[in-house]
């Protein structure tokens, strides 16, 4: 066996070990209900804003504190605490992907990914329904 073959095998083995250890770091998508069963575990929630709860954000007092309510597709509700500024157009987004942990009865959120009807590009489906403003 050539030295280069041995090195190749070792490197492949290392790559496989790396990938296997990566699977251990992976997290999961949960519902509000199942997330509450696993307090302290890092997970992802797919939710929308709960419009019945007012959004608390006052940059004068603390620009790094945002509280809002969310609701998942099964109707589960939870309050979210996010230690950062309020993302622009958060209230307009159709769907939020929240990363974080349930702690006590709130969801301590570390990042918010917003799914807007058109985050980066137009969604042709959304636009088909969009009425045109006639300004004549």
């Amino acid at each position: 066996m050539k030295k280069s073959h041995i090195i190749l095998l070792v490197l492949i083995a290392v790559a496989i070990v790396v990938l296997i250890s990566y699977t251990g770091d992976l997290s999961s998508y949960e519902t509000v209900g199942s997330a509450k069963q696993k307090p302290g575990k890092f997970l992802n929630l797919i939710v929308k804003m709960d419009k019945s709860v007012p959004v608390e954000y006052n940059p004068v007092k603390d620009p790094n504190l945002l509280k809002f309510g969310v609701q998942d597709s099964l109707g589960g509700r939870i309050m979210v605490v996010y230690h950062n500024t309020m993302p622009t157009d958060m209230e307009k987004s159709e769907r939020l992907v929240l990363k974080g942990k349930v702690q006590g009865d709130v969801f301590e959120c570390s990042s918010i990914v917003m799914k807007c009807p058109s985050k980066y590009k137009d969604n042709p489906e959304a636009n088909k329904e969009q009425p045109v403003t006639i300004n004549n």
């Binding site: 280069s4 940059p59 620009p63 622009t88 137009d122 300004n135």
Partner: protein, 831 residues
């Protein structure tokens, strides 16, 4: 298509249908011509009769030229449609508007999938024409390559043709009319174009000069990987490996341009996006990085094969997989499969099946061919010497290749989810999962880059010769490393100690790579330019590594919110998943705010004042911020930064922020506005009157106000005969901060005027409204709490030290690749 509007019966007013019809015809002609070119090049490639070859070659060339002309013309027509604001075309309506400056009209062109496919196709044509023109000596190889290229062109043409074959939509044309696509009622009115005032515009994030230049360069990089792939396929088909020589200028050019294109995207992200960095291991970024890694690996194994006859199989595999990964990345970014994991993928156009076919039609035949030919790829059955250049080059190439495989596997998790209907989400810190692995790659590649050229092919140099040659750069590198570690270091300690140690080792490796290659070029090659490409490219690569390590691991948040003590108490502890992202500082208009407290001295290193804001004609709101740099206790210099926010278009509410940076030679101060409140409107809140004595206090929403004492005539320079009474008051906020206020009354004969005092940071206005009971000392104090007192913004400020090393490294590396490519062309000509 929509049947509600029956175009046959309505005469629409003001439509320009000619450009669209021309465009349709051009795309169809280019589709057919590329198919003809594929077939004719295949005939010319496979035939053994010289006599037969000539006519096929002529036909193929003509077809390729026709196809190229069609693609160029198509490009022109689409640009005409966009720049003339012909909103009857969906592409113009969706991707542009009338207010856009001219240069951004180009960005509109490649905002959508159709335009960017055209751009890709455009570069294939340019490269193909150059190959036809320059490949006199390597005719056979170039026929095979052009066959593959023409077939790729055929596939790309199907993406933009927009035809229906038996109810299956093939491609999406950039020339479709808005009224044929949308169900809007007004589109059935004959005068709809008068009602459709403007397009929906270009995404605000893309309105940046990098977005004019980055996509063309990146797509040139994408397109250029097809040439080495074509050479490799031709080589496999004919079992003839002579192509490894003419491929070299193409491959080095491709790696240079692809690397440049990727990093221009990084520069765009740094300047225009607000994740506070240039690289986020986003799937879209990864998907373009990975082919670059395998391409660089392929160039190195190619060199090994040319010098020693070894590494032939890996050369084929690496060139092949580089192009296949480009198509795979196309599939990832355009199919919408990345969905939740990437913020900047294209919109799904409903062409997933077609995109998947595009991928498989290259992947399956290539691997079948590779496996069939595998036994025929003969390499010398000789052990590489451990002190030979080829041995370590191979190790480096394998490391690059496997690093690429690890990155792409992790990036492909959404594909795995889709295939197996799983719901696996990315880990808590996705960037760290990559960083902790890739730091080892940086270490290995860094050291190999340093020593590689000092080893000779086939090994067995003079005894001790290696050490003699490399001794000097080793000493220099040690000295520089020690200095760098002492004066700059790696401040990043949020993860494990071993990760920090690895970062240090990688830093040393990158310094060694730069020094050793400089020494090799200047001393061993005596500074000659002719063969300096490799050394200069490696210097650039070392600098890139160095720049990444120093700037990212020493990135510092300057805007830690330290204004309120209470805020710190509320700050999440280590158990909190949010970590400690109190990175936003609040600024009130006109009020100086201190920032970045020095841990040792307790002094603030910077102060920042939000002076004013203006709105330009494109509705961009600029904030004028004055910074004073007081690092080291002295007010050294002040500078102004103008971050801006632009109102989002495309039916979105809110704003997108554009950062602004101050560039020092050794660091960048990077600033962006995270939110703003505009309170320049009329204030309607009334004062509330309270009766107080000295020593009394009254509450407001965020604390209390205390009346300390009344001061009579504190100002000696007052006009004669006038009297002044001021109240010395203190405002105590919940956060524990104390502000002074001095409302007062001036009496000048019969005239009385009130002097209000405001505490802007607390949104308070205080007034002294006269004496209620002189004997008891009861005074009338007015208090107004107003949220509409002042404009405020929240700001993030980062410091990126030595980021210029990264940008310079990119430029130098690209120059190095260019020089190598040029030198290889010269070699081919003189051979």
């Amino acid at each position: 298509m929509n049947t509600a509007n029956n175009p046959a019966t309505i005469q629409f007013i003001g439509e320009h249908l000619l450009p669209g019809n021309i465009g349709y015809i051009l795309t169809i002609v280019s589709l057919v011509a590329s198919l003809v070119a594929t077939f004719a090049f295949a005939k010319a490639f496979f035939t053994n009769e010289i006599k037969e070859q000539g006519p096929w070659q002529r036909l193929a060339n003509i077809a390729f030229v026709i196809e190229s002309v069609c693609v160029f013309a198509c490009f022109g027509v689409l640009f005409y449609v966009i720049s003339n604001h012909l909103f009857e075309y969906k592409y113009a309506y969706m991707h542009s508007d009338k207010n856009l400056p001219f240069e951004y009209l180009l960005s509109c062109f490649w905002e959508g999938q159709e335009g960017s496919f055209l751009l890709w196709s455009f570069w294939h044509c340019v490269l193909g024409l150059i190959l036809i023109k320059t490949s006199k000596k390597w005719k056979q190889e170039s026929f095979g390559t052009l066959m593959v290229l023409s077939f790729t062109q055929f596939c790309l043409a199907t993406m933009v043709v927009g035809l229906y074959f038996f109810d299956i939509k093939v491609g999406s044309s950039p020339f479709i009319l808005l009224r044929n696509e949308m169900n809007w009622p007004i589109l059935s009115r004959p005068d709809y174009l008068q009602l459709l005032k403007d397009g929906t515009g270009l995404n605000t994030l893309l309105q940046n000069y990098w977005m004019v230049i980055h996509p063309p360069i990146l797509f040139l990089g994408f397109a250029s990987t097809a040439i080495p792939f074509g050479f490799a396929v031709a080589g496999l088909l004919k079992k003839d490996h002579k192509w490894v020589t003419p491929v070299l200028p193409w491959a080095t050019f491709s790696a240079g341009i692809l690397g440049l294109g990727i990093m221009m995207g990084a520069a765009w992200a740094y300047e225009s996006l607000t994740f506070g960095g240039y690289w986020a291991w986003d799937p879209v970024e990864n998907a373009s990085l990975v082919p670059w890694l395998t391409l660089v690996a392929a160039i190195h194994t190619n060199l090994i094969y040319r010098k020693t006859g070894g590494s032939l199989k890996t050369t084929y595999l690496f060139y092949g997989i580089s192009f296949l990964l480009i198509i795979y990345s196309t599939f990832l970014t355009r199919s919408g499969i990345l969905g939740d994991t990437s913020v900047h993928a294209f919109t799904d156009l409903g062409m997933n099946g077609q995109l998947l076919s595009f991928l498989l039609v290259f992947v399956i035949p290539f691997f079948l061919l590779f496996i069939v030919r595998f036994p025929a790829l003969k390499e010398p059955n000789k052990e590489e010497a451990i002190d030979s250049r080829e041995f370590w080059m191979l190790v480096g190439s394998l490391v690059l290749f496997l690093s690429a495989m690890v990155i792409i596997t992790i990036t492909s998790v959404p594909v795995y989810n889709k295939l197996f209907d799983q719901k696996v989400a990315p880990p808590e810190d996705p960037a760290y999962t990559h960083n902790q692995v890739q730091v080892f790659v940086a270490i290995i590649i860094g050291f190999l880059t340093a020593v590689g050229q000092y080893l000779s092919y086939k090994g067995g140099g003079k005894k001790g010769g290696f050490w003699k040659a490399i001794r000097f750069p080793v000493y220099i590198a040690i000295v520089l490393s020690v200095l760098t570690i002492i004066f700059i270091g790696i401040q990043y300690d949020e993860k494990t100690v071993s990760f920090q140690v690895n970062l240090y080792i990688a830093l040393v490796a990158s310094i060694f790579a730069v020094v050793a290659n400089m020494h090799y070029w200047l001393v061993i090659l005596k500074g000659k330019m002719k063969s300096a490409g490799a050394s200069i490219g490696h210097i650039g690569f070392g600098m890139v590594l160095m720049g990444i390590l120093i700037s990212s691991s020493n990135k510092k948040v300057l805007s830690w919110n330290t204004t309120g003590i209470n805020v710190i108490q509320k700050s999440p502890d280590a158990k909190n998943p949010a970590g400690n992202p109190m990175e936003n500082i609040t600024l009130f208009e006109g009020i100086k705010t201190e920032m970045d407290r020095d841990k040792k001295t307790g002094n603030f290193n910077y102060s920042v004042t939000y002076l004013r804001d203006t709105v330009d004609e494109l509705d961009k709101k600029f904030f004028e911020l004055k910074f004073v740099n007081k690092t080291g206790g002295m007010a050294k210099d002040s500078f102004y930064l103008y971050p801006d926010v632009l109102k989002n278009n495309k039916g979105m509410e809110g704003f997108s922020a554009n950062p602004s940076s101050k560039h020092y030679w050794n660091k960048d101060i990077f600033v962006y506005v995270t939110s703003f409140q505009d309170h320049s409107k009329e204030d309607t809140i009334q004062f509330k009157l309270h009766q107080l004595k000295a020593g009394d206090s009254l509450f407001y929403s965020n604390g209390y106000v205390k009346l300390e004492k009344a001061i009579i005539n504190p100002n000696a320079n007052r006009p004669a005969g006038s009297n002044e009474v001021y109240l010395q008051m203190t405002v105590h906020s919940k956060e524990g901060l104390v502000y002074n206020a001095m409302p007062g009354i001036k009496i000048n004969g019969q005239e009385m005027s009130m002097v209000q005092d405001t505490v802007r940071a607390q949104n308070l206005i205080l007034s002294f409204n006269g004496v209620v009971d002189q004997a008891k000392g009861i005074l009338n104090v007015g208090l107004k709490e107003s949220s509409t007192l002042t404009n405020l913004i929240t700001l993030k400020v980062y410091e990126f030290p030595f980021i210029n090393i990264l940008w310079m490294g990119i430029i130098i590396m690209t120059i190095g690749f260019g020089m190598s490519s040029y030198a290889r062309i010269k070699q081919l000509k003189s051979a």
